[in-house]
Amino acid sequence: MTHQLTERPPVSEPTPVETVAVRFAGDSGDGMQLAGGQFTSAAAIRGNDFATFPDYPAEIRAPRGTTFGVSGFQVHFAAKPIHTPGDAIDVLVAMNPAAFKMNVGDVRQGGMIIADEDEFTKVNLKKAGYGPEESPLADEILGQRYRIITVPLSRMVREALSESGQGVKEIDRCRNMFALGLVCWMYDRPLEPTINWLQSYFGDKKNRPEVADMNVTALKTGWAFGETTEAIPQRYAVAAAELPSGRYRKISGNEALVLGLVVAGKKAGKQVSYCGYPITPASDLLHGLANLKRFGVQTFQAEDEIAAVASAIGVSYAGGIGVTGTSGPGLALKGEALGLAVMLELPIVVVDVQRAGPATGMPTKTEQTDLLQAFYGRSGEAPCIVLAASSPSDCFETAIEAVRLATRAMCPAILLSDASIANGAEPWMVPDVSAIPEIEIIHPEALSDSDEPFEPYLRNEETGARRWAIPGTPGLEHRVGGLEKQDITGDVSYDGPNHQKMLALRAEKIAKLANVIPPMEVGGDVGAETLVLGWGGTAGAILSAVERMRGDGVQLAYAHLRHLNPFPSNLGEILGRYKRVIIPEINSGQLRMLIRGMFLVDARGVNVIQGRGFHVDELVEGIQNAMGDKS
């Protein structure tokens, strides 16, 4: 099975294809995230639409060669708009047996697997749980099912870098660049962006130009191998996608959240203080914002999630924009303090980047299982604004929206993201920042001693929000606290009817936001009897599935919710129009429960809870089944 390196004439022009999913898979230390990220950039620059799916283990750097240490990065890129990282993989790059084993099942029949044959040693096979003589590269059945291309990858990299003067360890670190070079050749992607990045990162930033050079050599060697090998007879071209015209960048969900929060602060004319405690997959919010102090952003790594939310509330009490971010278990810890924020009627933003639970669960995997926690995870009746971002780039606007709504209603806003949109990336048409509307905030002004006593719980009639008086303002001295408040004065009150009134006022001001959020839009077929309704990070998969089914002649309408509390004002009316409502979720039916309970609609679910986004295939099947169920 070893591969002979021989000269050959350049292969013919690349064959055009519409969409491709490539997955780089190797050890955690093999630099697969880097290779995937660079390949994405190369796709982006050629004008493809794309979506990515990094999938890495919870372990930092598990012992080499083990299956639990495998790290993967999938890039779906296309000559047309796409919305998911792709179901089945067209090309798998497997840097070792463990990577092969853990990923081969996701390769489409007839798909290509590029394997580093040098790594398929007895030792490594054993580590991956194969028998010593059981190399999958020699497996006939697999060989029929897939196009397995074995490449002496490690050897070629070592040879290419034999004169670098570096040790084997350093040299082997460049294997990912060889793989990237080869795949770039296959899909006719330019190397320049990667070369530039290598030089600026290793050369300039890390001051290790020799490492940059080694990587560039490996990259080019990979490309050259493609040119010369006959094992890969074919190149492919993926033309630019027809995206709306404009200036684009690549963005992940966590990056977009960071940018959205910074912009929201500027638009509100306020300092954003992000008070967080590290937790996968939300830690990058803290990291990202900590690097943006030059925009006046403050970050505070608290001792735990409770201190994080409490200090965010303190920030908002003092007149700043308090933001905290976490993942599910951290949100559970914040429940009590969130109840206080509801009572104090202060605006804070709580980002929950959902991950697979319960408990520690599968911390690097995605899930949509915190919706009901966001609604109900507090004592007493403590409604919060709830929003969910639908894609990596959508996190930007959703973050701004969260700040806008929280400050408008003087109420905590919980923004739900999830692991797949947090780490996944897509192209994003960069907005003109100056065109984003300001967030208007009016604080009550100083009073002199002779004025009437200040009434902190007097409300704005339109919004229902109380006044946000900031410490330091003369004459507005007042006390807030978690005991029930007397309407208007904010004094402590144990009066029963007042309590019921305050509960209603706190709920109403959230309900009133429905007047200022956009009505829900419905896409798809006008006369359809079935509505597919989604929320959060499944938007792309749902859209893809619905489009595919419509392409097959099924009449379907679809809609997606960014606003969950309050719902858009027309939701009930829209639901009433359809004979069937189908709600796909990566949980066992949380939005479904809410929709059924509030609107008495017999909504059906499609629920796959496997730590990953929906595959379009399974979603199509699920929607089909759910449609059948009903009739």
């Binding site: 004008g47 404009g246 200090s311 410490p471 330091g472 402590v492």
Partner: protein
């Protein structure tokens, strides 16, 4: 937010008295502390609106309601974190945290420790009554071993925590102890705390008239106090006693109470107090009646460490110094490409 151009009025205690009825039990030590605080604030050279009182939950934690300043009665145990947020957002506010021993040392022990080690410029009054008052009399982390309470009918089996020792271990830069009814020391200590740039911690021996009455009488009552406590004065020897004839010496590294003039002990043998010595402060913090007098006043003061909120502000200012932050550029990111047109 701060308006330094506004003149500073001459305040009286009543200017700091809110319109809320005080709801402590008659005879509660909290009243005395409230009176002292209202008396001290006019001396601090700050405008009324610059003060924020923050508390957790408990009897003591009702404090903010009674102060005509900004205030937040938060949730149980988390007041240090709320206070940290307030200071981060506006370092110019003068933030006081008043809460109980259960609040700050049981559920809130961790936040207390972290606000101290970060040196957030908050002044903490821990009203220590060695009991849970508001929940009607369970033992607290400062209750003595063997204490019989509602939740320990056969006596507590926990070693009490020593708030001063803990504060010192947590790197607190200002550590003091006062007594509820000793307005003079309390007011003076508060003035020093207010001038301290970092985290200032004052333990107050507070009498819970209902559930733990007289717990501190050995230290607070006129007749008992001189023999059971020692007033700390920087640079002065640790002399105490009704007749000021007793002192504390270090023998074999451990403190011992001695009588001057007995067994050849002279005033020169008495330990001289140095408020900058953290180890010494730890030693003193661990002195307990009846073997040794309990120290009152400022145990430790280390004013040179920058306050957390200032360090945070400085980093932001430094980062902004070159004024190069361009929001559109940030949103654009390092690489963009054009589609269409």
């Amino acid at each position: 937010m701060r308006a330094p151009d506004l003149p500073l009025p001459t305040y009286k205690p009543k200017d700091f008295t809110s319109d809320q009825d005080v709801r402590w039990c008659p005879g509660c030590g909290d009243y005395a502390v409230l009176a002292s605080v209202r008396k001290a604030l006019p001396k601090l050279g700050r405008r009324k609106e610059e003060f924020v009182f923050v508390s957790g939950i408990g009897c003591a934690a009702r404090f903010p309601y009674y102060m005509e300043t900004y205030g937040m009665h938060s949730i149980h145990g988390r007041a240090p974190a709320f206070a940290t947020g307030i200071k981060l957002a506006n370092p110019d506010l003068d933030v006081w945290l008043v809460s109980g021993d259960g609040d700050l040392l049981s559920i809130g022990g961790n936040h207390t420790m972290h606000v101290m080690r970060r040196n957030v410029g908050v002044r903490i009054l821990l009203l220590n009554n060695r009991i849970y008052g508001l929940t009607k009399g369970q033992y607290s982390p400062t209750s003595e071993r063997g204490k019989v309470t509602k939740s320990t009918p056969m006596g507590s089996i926990d070693e009490p925590v020593n708030p001063l020792a803990l504060a010192l271990a947590a790197e607190c830069t200002f550590v003091a102890r006062c007594i509820d009814i000793d307005a003079k020391t309390l007011t003076a200590t508060m003035e020093r705390a207010a001038a301290h740039p970092g985290c200032a911690f004052i333990e107050v021996y507070q009498d819970c008239n209902i559930f733990n009455h007289q717990a501190w009488f050995y230290a607070s009552q006129k007749d008992a106090r001189p023999n059971n406590t020692v007033d700390l004065v920087h640079g002065e020897p640790l002399i105490f006693g009704e007749n000021r004839d007793k002192g504390v010496m270090i023998v074999n590294g451990r403190p011992r109470a001695v009588t001057i003039g007995e067994g050849g002990v002279t005033e020169e043998d008495i330990l001289v107090f140095d408020e900058t010595d953290r180890t010494l402060a730890f030693t003193l913090a661990n002195m307990h009646c009846p073997d040794l007098p309990e120290p009152l006043g400022v145990l430790y003061c280390h004013p040179d460490r920058p306050a957390y909120e200032e360090a945070s502000r400085t980093q932001i200012q430094d980062a902004q110094a070159d004024g190069s932050a361009d929001l559109q550029k940030l949103v654009d990111g390092p690489d963009t490409w054009m589609v269409g047109s």
